[in-house]
Amino acid sequence: MSAASMTGYMRGLYKLAWRRKAAFVGGVVALLMLLAAIMAPWLAPYDPNEQDILLRMAGPSEAHWLGNDTYGRDILSRIIWGGRISLFIGVASIGLAMIIGGLLGILAGYVGGRTDRLIMSLMDMMLSFPSLVMGLLVVAVLGPTTMNLIIAIAFTAIAPFARIARAPTLAVKQRDFIEAGRALGYSDLRIMVVHVLPNILDEILVLASLWLATAIRTEASLSFIGLGVRPPTATWGGMIRDGFENMLDAPGLVIYPSIAILIIMIALNLLGDGLRDATDPKLRHE
């Protein structure tokens, strides 16, 4: 990209941000939460696993802004550290689903014929399971570790990515530059990765921003059911699960992590909606 087109690109981004204020705010909030998660070791006031039984279920105080949980652990620190796990699992699983689903979709659309039918009917079958139940089963089978949660959540999101990648591939395949690539003797793999992929990347990324919220929600739900990363590791869903039994005495145990989840969900939904509207030509001039 030349310097001139780079400035033009930045100006375009700036204009877009102004026109889509809600999406912009969502993006900034999501980014801030991501930063807080990355900087958890420096940001969290206490060790998230440090217990102080004297402070068991203590309310908010100057030293502990959001109070303490059933083991006397600092809730704020656990929320900051919990975000690390929840966001990491969300981002990693959607990244994985995006790569596998995207490649399968491109392959199906590009090769066509029997390969296409086989891949797409497999995807249809995967869509026949409710994603939470599928995630539940995969984690139960593989065991609740961070890696397995990533695999389980990615597994539930592969089919939508394959579908979204296939349709534009079919359209791109018909264009002249693909024909030209073939005439030059490029391999199918090269054409798919170098020439088809960049042309459908927009749609895949928009879907990713929307599915990131779903992935984070699935992780929280699995943790709430008891299939999350094992305790004492802090996760938002796990904190709600732990606090659920004692929520009558200390509603904060449940409410604060819930608010953390809600903020990131709303932020990501705003961002995803804005991105989708911005890339949808029908809505672009709204």
């Binding site: 026949s128 409710p130 939470l132 089978v141 065991g143 709600i240 929520m247 509603p251 969900m265």
Partner: protein
């Protein structure tokens, strides 16, 4: 219409077979010998061998697979590894609870979501539209277990209007209804958010069509243009989304049943998970997948009812 229905039925068969295959192999990958899970770590080798042969686990995988498919086709989903009861018996016992919950949620979702979406599109870019969109965004952002907990805190604890534990007496219809209200609202309001949103965007697409302008130009009353001409044509994407979100609805019903401590498929599957009852798990997945395939089929058939063009393809 009959031919259309038959064709759709035929398409569903390979999907179901594929689903059964996936379920069978996913459950077989599970670590830990089910015989050891049932008998405990200290069981003798002989007892384990005996149970393995009883459960058919010592047979070749392919043979197990075909016998599994065969029995499912005959409506036999096996026995629970823990209670040794037929799984279907347990499922039939709790199915009405899950069914009434999801049905009530669907009714709430459609009854509120459709009109809200239409109003939002009709008054596009006005404060009415913005507030409806804000609430639907909020609904989409709530994980079902969090909204369930908040409803429980608000309307069972702060305001003691509804029972805290839904597992009240289910033989009394009044109590049963009272126990249903909060869980159904929880699932239903999330559904409202989904339906409102798709109704709005689908209405907006149709509103800009030429035939709507024609209807207006002909002097058809505004409300008739919106509710009859536009909504009718906007229905296909709405029905699609309702069909697709059935999967989400089922997932959310699991969480709702846990929070409200309601009997149902969701609680059954969690109990089976905790006790590593693989036959029950396998059966539950088959049942869930069956419902989703059935829902897709119904959605397809509804297309035919809504849109004569689909029917005559």
């Amino acid at each position: 219409m009959l031919l259309f229905t038959l064709k759709r039925l035929l398409v569903a068969v390979p999907t179901l077979l594929g689903v059964l295959t996936i379920v069978f192999f996913v459950v077989r990958v599970a670590p830990g010998d089910p015989a050891i899970v049932i008998l405990g770590e200290n069981a003798t080798q002989q007892a384990i061998e005996q149970l393995r042969s009883q459960l058919g686990l010592d047979r070749p995988l392919l043979e197990q697979y075909f016998s599994f498919i065969g029995s499912v086709l005959q409506g036999d989903l096996g026995r629970s590894m823990i209670s040794n009861q037929p799984v279907l018996k347990e499922v039939w016992r709790v199915l009405p609870y899950t069914f009434e919950l999801t049905a009530a949620a669907l009714v709430i979702g459609i009854a509120l979501g459709l009109p809200l979406g239409v109003i939002s599109a009709r008054y596009r870019n006005t404060p009415v539209d913005f507030s409806i969109r804000f609430f639907s965004l909020l609904g989409l952002s709530f994980p079902a277990f969090i909204s369930a907990i908040l409803l429980l805190l608000a309307f069972s604890i702060e305001l003691p209007w509804f029972p805290v534990i839904s597992e009240a007496s289910y033989s009394d219809p009044v109590q049963r209804f009272r126990a249903l209200v909060l869980p159904a609202l929880n699932l239903g309001l999330i559904m409202v958010a989904y339906i409102t949103r798709v109704t709005r965007s689908s209405m907006l697409t149709v509103i800009s069509e030429d035939y709507i302008r024609t209807a207006r130009a002909k002097g058809v009353p505004a409300s008739m243009v919106i509710w009859q001409h536009t909504l009718r044509n906007a229905l296909i994407p709405i029905v699609t989304v309702i069909g697709l979100y059935l999967g989400v609805l089922i997932g959310n019903s699991v969480l709702t049943e846990i929070v409200f401590n309601r009997p149902g498929l969701g609680k059954l599957i969690v109990i089976a998970l905790n006790s590593r009852d693989y036959t029950t798990l396998q059966a539950m997945l088959v049942i869930y997948a069956f419902f989703i395939v059935l829902a897709n089929l119904l959605t397809d058939l509804l297309y035919g009812v809504i849109d004569p063009k689909v029917r005559n393809q």
